[in-house]
């Protein structure tokens, strides 16, 4: 095949996206099938790339900029994953979005997003990467804003948070190019330390914000409520994670060489651990299906960052494996949420209940997906979490903090399991709160993507050698793995036993909580209203800890100072300058008394002065 085929995964969706925008609103169905066909083609094309390694360099602008693309095993993997989820979610949207407004825009932005993500992943030039990466801001804005008339606030929030992070990425890229002396990503291999670490941090901010780690997370729960649901499955659920973690891995493995002994490694692990714990604690108390899931979309990133931050092979492999696993079950979970929303007409857990018998397929998918995210063996999430635990313990020994990071991750698993037990119980079991006759199983086009995704969870768990040995381990390369393979059953039985103990603990905790409060929804109330936690939760719910709100307050403070300086300067012109001029002219006017004697004496004094000057000059 010609190397120029590399342009197809970028151009095909973008051109098709322009065409999608040309559809009329009432042609929504046609538009949906057109886009499904495009994403299917896209999937076929990316699948055919598999195993190739290509380089494409085209001229692009002056100053030695090159439009360089490179297909590596890693980019190939991300490309394929993006195509799979693009296709499945597009297929799902056909039924879910049917009858909604701005369908042509929805599908247009959908396809643009796919093309831009592919561009960013394939880019082998930092400016090309930044170009595609930042362009995603536009589709982010577009896809949220079409949600409903009030959604613009969330769209703006998302864009400001991402825009600020992207500017940091821009600065980081500028620094990296300067430090490396080249823009070609595959030629950059910088050690960390000194100025290089500063550049790394700027790039890291960009990557983590894309993946949705704290403190760049707070738009995600808002978007869960305001944006169309497939958007959540597509971006925060799948593509954002793929792209963010892809770039984080690239900067830790090749662009910079992160070592376990660099102080950047614990920095990443701390951010990862905090993200896991705080987000999952918030997830636990949510009372809305989609909002609850969105906090998990944040929390799970913590495991990936923790894994990659360890900078040891087992942790990195675990982090990457967790990335793809999370993409699978998280987008799947969002899709079950969409099915519930579409069929039961609500996502507020207080209005749901007893859906299990009415929507058995959805319920079954939910059970398996929730078990995967909670780390129940033998589903995929279990295996990747065990690898991350292993890495966290190893890095803990390096930094003499023992099992601290491991404990954070394990505690996260406890709350994850607890919150999914609560969610499943409240939505699918218990007494129905809606008229059961009205609720039916979701249509076929929605079920198929959910079933495929659920099957992937089982496949990647039971046969984890497939993703690990085919897709993930080649990314690290033989020189790092030294013949190890991480496939198969976890190495440490102790860790497995601890995991099982924690899961059983979460189950018992749920039974006790549900019995105490009398409902599935209230199963976490004893944690929510625990002394000490309750005031914190209360403040968090009032957004007092939202970094965005805090940031805006700081910004407002800067603006006020700036305003004061500006008005102060203006006062100098408008008032002070005028007053001084008047004072001067008044002084001179008063000197003009009309007295001939005074004028004559001035003239005489002036004459004497001039003569003195002339004489002095000679």
């Amino acid at each position: 095949m010609n190397v120029r085929f590399l342009l197809v995964p970028i151009l095909l969706p973008i051109v098709a996206g322009v065409l999608a925008l040309l559809f009329r609103n009432r042609q929504g169905k046609a538009c949906a099938w057109f886009c499904t066909a495009v994403t299917a083609t896209q999937l076929a094309i990316t699948a055919s790339f598999f195993g190739q390694e290509w380089n494409l360099i085209l001229p692009w602008g002056a100053f030695g900029w090159q439009f360089a693309l490179k297909l590596t095993p890693f980019s190939n993997f991300i490309l394929l994953a993006a195509a799979v989820f693009g296709f499945l979610i597009c297929l799902y949207s056909a039924a879910f979005m049917n009858g909604k407004r701005f369908l042509n825009q929805y599908y247009g932005y959908f396809l643009f997003t796919l093309g831009l993500v592919n561009g960013a992943v394939l880019a082998d030039n930092l400016i090309v990467l930044l170009f595609f990466w930042e362009s995603l801001l536009l589709t982010l804005f577009g896809m949220i804003v079409i949600g409903h008339p009030g959604a613009f606030k969330t769209a703006v929030k998302a864009c400001i948070i991402s825009g600020v992070a992207d500017l940091c990425l821009l600065v980081g890229i500028g620094m990296t190019i300067y430090l490396a002396g080249t823009m070609t990503i595959s030629q950059i291999h910088l050690p960390v330390g000194g100025l290089n670490s500063v550049a790394f941090i700027f790039l890291m901010i960009g990557a983590m914000a894309k993946a949705g780690a704290m403190p760049f997370h707070s738009w995600i729960p808002d978007a869960a409520v305001d944006a169309p649901l497939p958007f959540m499955a597509l971006l925060p659920g799948a593509l954002d994670k793929l792209l963010g973690i892809y770039f984080l891995t690239r900067i830790s493995l090749d662009i910079f060489v992160l070592t376990p002994l660099s102080w950047l490694s614990p920095l990443l692990m701390i951010i990862g651990s905090i993200t896991i714990l705080l987000a999952v604690m918030m997830a636990l108390i949510q009372k809305d299906y989609k909002r609850l899931l969105s906090f998990h979309a944040i929390s799970q990133v913590g495991y990936m960052i923790l894994g990659i931050g360890t900078a040891v092979p087992v942790g990195i492999v675990g982090g990457l494996f967790h990335m793809i696993n999370n993409v699978i079950y998280k987008s799947g979970l969002f899709l079950t949420g969409g099915a519930v929303e579409k069929q039961a007409g609500a996502t507020d857990l207080a209005k749901l209940g007893g859906l299990g018998t009415r929507m058995p397929v959805t319920f079954l998918c939910f059970i398996i997906l929730a078990a995967s995210i909670s780390g129940v063996p033998p589903f995929n999430g279990f295996f990747s979490k065990e690898l991350v635990y292993d890495g966290a313990l190893e890095a803990g020994r390096t930094w003499h903090v023992g099992w601290t990071f491991y404990a954070a991750a394990l505690l996260g698993s406890f709350f994850t399991a607890a919150s999914f037990l609560k969610l499943g119980h409240a939505a699918f079991l218990g007494k129905p709160n809606t008229d059961p006759a009205k609720v039916r199983e979701a249509p076929m086009t929605m079920l198929i993507p959910m079933i495929i995704i659920t099957a992937l969870c089982i496949l990647f768990g039971v046969w984890n050698a497939l993703p690990l040995e085919r897709l993930i381990q080649p990314i690290l390369g033989e020189h790092r793995l030294e013949g190890h393979t991480f496939a198969g059953w976890p190495a440490s039985m102790t860790l497995v036993i601890l995991t099982v103990v924690v899961l059983v603990g979460a189950f018992l905790n749920h039974l006790w909580g549900a019995k105490r409060s009398g409902s599935g929804l209230g199963a976490a109330d004893h944690i929510h209203y625990a002394p000490g936690l309750h005031p914190l939760y209360d403040r968090a719910e009032r957004r007092l800890f939202d970094p965005y709100e805090i940031g805006l307050k700081i910004t407002n403070g800067i603006a006020r100072i700036a305003w004061g300086i500006d008005r102060g300067i203006d006062y100098l012109y408008d008032t002070a300058a005028v007053k001084i001029t008047y004072a001067l002219t008044n002084g001179i006017r008063k000197a003009h008394t009309g007295s001939l004697f005074a004028y004559l004496s001035w003239s005489l004094a002036g004459l004497i002065l001039i003569i003195a000057l002339i004489l002095g000059g000679i």
């Binding site: 536009l138 800067i558 700036a562």
Partner: protein, 490 residues
């Protein structure tokens, strides 16, 4: 026609043509409008015609009776191209805007004179000619800002006039200082006499006064927000095409493309620009008057241009020049959108607007496209210029300045989203129902054109980036002589 003739026409046609417009206007409005557009287009076409020659590395020199009058290199042609392009679109927009008001003859006279003088500044080879055209723009600007003749408006026009003319007089002192140092007002001769020696710091300080007052940089900036009382196409002209760009252009012309300055200025000027970018961006966040808000944005963005030009490395200079183009297009678009909004809603207070996207979709989308470009989001043109300027700052190693601009860039995103949502989204707070509709077709077409140019200039970055690269190469060629003498590596 020979190239020198084309160069002369680019200046003379709008400058002289402006004087016959009021005469024709008494006879036919349509002809006057058409002619004013044609005069500006002559400059545009002339600039385009000169592009192949100058980018090939040649320069043009027009002499008159042995006196060096006009000079064209890539930098000059680039600036002429930007100004006349944006200027032509603004003139086109004026057809729709200004027909509601009286004094139209004077309006077109002043606008075309303004653009003609700009061409004069851009191409002039002599400091005195440059000064002459500089002051003519101040007069045109004074008449145009006070165009609506209300007393408070006239006072604001006076303020703009006084500040810029004061700056220009100080700059003239600087020119005289240079004359003392070198014995000439001719740019080329000064360059030869100096032989790569930097000009005196006194002269730089004095000239900077003029440049900073014209380009509205803190603390000489407050006249610019006040100038928002002018008709909207005029504010667009001031902010996007002509007035504030004069300062940055003359900076590039004198201190980059002609002479050299002491390396210490590569820190001082970016530091001034950083303060300006931050203060103005902060003020923009709190301002509630639509046109004043965009004016603060201009002040802030001019800071980015100065940063690029003055930081002292190639990528920064290239970014600064590219910024002139991208900002011109996008800011012009924002002001013209503001004009449509202001004319149809009869208010400039953004807190009293809202929901206008429903009735003004084209204006809203154009506004958003231009805003994205100013924010520096790809694929808009502003992305490339912002990237290059920031990279220039990072590369210079002046981290404090780079971080200040980073904060300035954050604020840019925030205040532009704020104004966009307040004007176009949410519940409308306007008293009139139904909400005001779009402006006249020619106005809407103009803003849509600028919005489209914002995105096209980024998608087809090849052309502008090569254009700028050629200009930078000529500049670097001048600078390199000095770098060897001073041992200063950019």
């Amino acid at each position: 026609m020979n190239l020198n003739g084309i160069l002369t026409l680019a200046v003379v046609v709008p400058f002289v043509g402006a004087f016959i417009l009021p005469v024709i206007g008494r006879w036919s409005e349509r002809l006057r409008n058409g002619l004013s557009l044609i005069f500006v287009l002559v400059s545009l076409v002339a600039a385009v015609a000169l592009i192949p020659t100058v980018t090939a590395g040649r320069t043009l020199l027009v002499q008159w009776a042995g006196f060096n009058l006009f000079y064209a290199d890539t930098l000059a042609v680039f600036m002429a191209f930007v100004s006349s392009l944006v200027g032509a679109i603004i003139v086109l927009y004026s057809f729709g805007y200004i027909r509601h008001y009286s004094w139209r003859n004077e309006y077109y006279f002043m606008v075309v004179l303004f653009l003609g003088s700009m061409m004069g500044i851009v191409f002039s080879r002599n400091l005195l000619i440059l000064y002459l055209f500089w002051e003519i723009t101040a007069i045109a600007c004074w008449r145009l800002i006070g165009f609506f003749r209300e007393k408070s408006y006239v006072l604001k026009a006076d303020k703009a006039f006084l500040v810029t003319v004061f700056g220009a007089l100080v700059m003239l002192l600087g020119f005289i200082t240079i004359y003392h140092q070198t014995g000439s007002f001719d740019l080329g001769q000064i360059q030869e006499t100096l032989q790569g020696q930097p000009i005196s710091n006194l002269a730089v300080t004095l000239i900077l006064f003029g440049i900073l007052s014209k380009s509205a940089t803190v603390p000489l900036h407050t006249w610019l927000p006040d100038a928002g009382v002018a008709p909207s196409p005029v504010t667009a002209l001031l902010h996007a095409a002509v007035l504030v760009k004069i300062g940055v252009y003359v900076y590039a012309r004198l201190f980059l493309a002609s002479w050299t300055i002491e390396p210490v200025w590569h820190t001082i000027i970016p530091a001034i620009a950083a303060v300006s970018a931050l203060v103005a961006a902060g003020a923009a966040l709190l301002e509630t008057d639509l046109k004043r808000l965009i004016a603060y944005s201009t002040i802030s963005q001019i800071g980015f241009i100065f940063l690029g030009l003055a930081i002292g490395n190639e990528i920064g200079i290239a970014g600064g020049l590219l910024y002139i183009l991208m900002h011109g297009i996008a800011k012009g678009g924002l002001f013209l959108c503001a004009g449509i909004i202001e004319q149809n809603t009869h208010t400039k207070d953004i807190t009293k607007m809202g929901g206008l996207i429903a009735t003004m979709p084209v204006t809203a989308v154009s506004f958003l496209l231009c805003a994205f470009s100013v924010m520096g989001i790809p694929p808009f043109g502003g992305f490339f210029s912002k990237y290059m300027v920031m990279t220039g700052a990072v590369t210079s190693g002046q981290i404090a300045i780079a971080l200040t601009f980073l904060v300035g860039a954050f604020l840019t995103i925030i205040y532009l989203f704020r104004v966009f949502t307040l004007v176009f989204f949410g519940e409308s707070k306007l008293a009139v129902r139904p909400l005001p509709a779009e402006g006249s077709p020619v106005m809407v077409f103009s803003v849509a054109l600028l919005g489209a140019l914002s995105i096209l200039s980024g998608l087809f970055i090849n052309f502008p980036s090569h254009f700028v690269q050629s200009a930078v190469q000529q500049i670097i060629w001048v600078q390199s002589a000095v770098n060897q003498i001073l041992g200063f590596i950019p």
